[in-house]
Amino acid sequence: MFEVFKKEIIELLRDRKTLFFIIALPMLIFPIILGFVAFLTSQASLKAEQQVHTYYIVNTQFSTVFSEEIFYHKSFKKYAGQKQFDSVEQLSEAVKEGIIDVGIFIPNDPKIAIQAGKQSQWQIVFNDAKAINFIFNRVRSVASKLSNELRTRALKDLGVDIRHQPALLTPITISKVDTADKRENYGEKLGALIPYLLLPLVLMGASYPAIDLGAGEKERGTLETLLLTPVTRSELVLGKFFTVLASSIACTLITVASLAIWVSVASSFVSLEAVKTAFNSVTAWDFILIFSLLLPVAAMLSSLVLAISIYARTFKEAQNYMGPLSMAVFVPIAVSLLPNMELDNVTALIPITNVALAIKEVVKGTVDQGAIALIFIASAALASLLLLSCVRWFKKESVLFR
């Protein structure tokens, strides 16, 4: 078995294509892609922030204070054209045609309305489909400043002293006292993200060599030669399995290491306080625990992709099966992200979901040893079942000579 393992590893290390996917891709390409996405996002939000909106106010005479505020606001520019608009419909048309960015419709004078005990209902007409949009918030902040001033003055006119006004407006306030420490809070968010990143890598690291070791050997005609040696089928399967497992773990470790390096490089330029606080409280023991939790998943996925690869007739057929499989891995991870999903005796038995939940618990610092033991047992049982089917398929003529 060791000879098979050794030879497979040598062959794997000499295969540039697979090495590229296992080492180069996670090490360089992912940070580049992530960096590129971050760059584009920050550019987009910067652009949105710096954008100056052309505006048009219907009935400026009802609130000259507001009109002046907007006029001197650095993000707004008054519409300089000849056209006149006097309804919400006309403003909508103008926004659609791109004549203005935002239209503000003031139906009446708020000072008069408040005296009559009525609200003045203003309408802001703009295109709200963009993800990053500052228009509404900017208009609202100017309007609410004015609204607050009007209210303060009106209450004062009614004889309410300015010091009593907050209590009168909100007699009861409530605030949170959270028993969850910072780590638990960050852990809930970050801990859910980590399996999302790690588990597909485990699968990727396993599937590339697995295709080569099963279907690839069949296609090249070496499998028949291999089956004519006095090595038992179980030994052959185990040798191949450990190769796939090693590659899967190596792929994950390399990615995590590269991620750690890139995060530390990035944090020396920008301060990522949230990330730092969360990771500072995670001890080395927790890292070991996370890693050891990946082992059962890696073993399970390795045996699964190996079984698929042995079953497949050709390289291409094996690749066709891998596509839906990677989607199948995302589903249980998504399940673990559902609100209020927790690690218990039932969820500990659902493959992949169990490990995703357990990793979250580890990052949160609230891990239960019993549940982890259960995960190990469940995953080991599943992995050995899949390995057994590998051995069985390796003995079946209809699979080997399909």
């Binding site: 000499r14 295969d15 028949e224 030669t225 004519l228 040696t229």
Partner: protein, 261 residues
């Protein structure tokens, strides 16, 4: 010595096969394709047996059963006194197998390929090195030992394949069309290799379509047609029964005679 007795092997027909009833093969019935129905022959020490038959006669299936890759439905294969149908592991140790479809590991060098199979057969250390060196010089492989198999020429590959097939000192050597697609020089290498095995007293069974090779090498001939043995005997008997001193004509006569019966 290897004795094959009443071998039979059938394969389940696929659904597509069952649908396509236009091309009916007489060996397709009961939902199975009866590839090999009854094949028997023997090959003694120091003998070379040529396995002949038209394409699709069941030669490769027969040889795959001999190599233990396929398990026969009926019959026995005796090597010395061991029935390798019942003990395939003994068979794998006793047989050296080479076919057109048995490939090499492209990313391993020629040397590593041969050594790997030696190790899988339990050879180690000095014994492995001595055996490999012997094969490398015998097959004149020293110039390309450290080249990756994927960069070797067809002839070099076939030499490596031969070394791989016999690295474990097999008691019987089985070759499935070993000269198909090879140039004259490499064919000659294969022929001299078969002769050296014969000189060592190792029985060799090889399937071929080249009857000149049969004339050159074989002591015995076995003919398979439609999954049935239709001849097993010496080359002289073959010519006598085929009614011609030309092997090609004798072969054709034998097959047509078989169809008349």
């Amino acid at each position: 010595m290897i004795a094959v007795d009443k071998l039979a092997k059938r394969f389940k027909l696929t659904k597509e096969h069952k649908k396509n009833k236009e091309r009916h093969d007489s060996r397709e019935y009961d939902g199975y394709f009866h590839s090999v129905k009854n094949v028997s022959f023997t090959c003694n020490h120091g003998e070379v047996l040529g396995l002949l038959g038209p394409n699709g006669a069941g030669k490769t299936t027969t040889l795959r059963m001999l190599s233990t890759a396929l398990k026969p439905d009926h019959g026995s294969i005796l090597i010395e006194d061991d029935n390798i149908v019942k003990q395939p592991l003994l068979g794998r140790k006793a047989i050296g197998f080479l076919s057109g479809s048995t490939g090499l590991y492209g990313r391993l060098t020629a040397k590593e390929n041969v050594e790997y199979f030696g190790k899988l057969h339990g050879l180690k250390g000095h014994a492995l090195k001595a055996k490999c060196d012997e094969l490398f010089s015998m097959l004149d492989m020293t110039t390309f030992l450290d080249k990756r198999a994927e960069h070797l020429s067809t002839g070099m590959k076939q030499k490596t394949n031969i070394a791989r097939a016999v690295v474990h000192n097999p008691k019987v050597v089985i070759l499935d069309e070993p000269t198909t697609g090879l140039d004259i020089m490499t064919t000659q290498t294969v022929i001299s290799f078969i002769r050296s095995l014969k000189a060592q007293g190792i029985p060799v069974i090889f399937s071929t379509h080249h009857l000149d090779e049969v004339a050159l090498l074989c002591d015995k001939i076995a003919v398979i047609d439609q999954g049935l043995s239709c001849f097993d005997g010496t080359v002289t008997d073959f010519m006598k029964q085929g009614g011609s001193t030309e092997l090609n004509q004798a072969f054709l006569n034998l097959l047509s005679g078989n169809k008349h019966v």
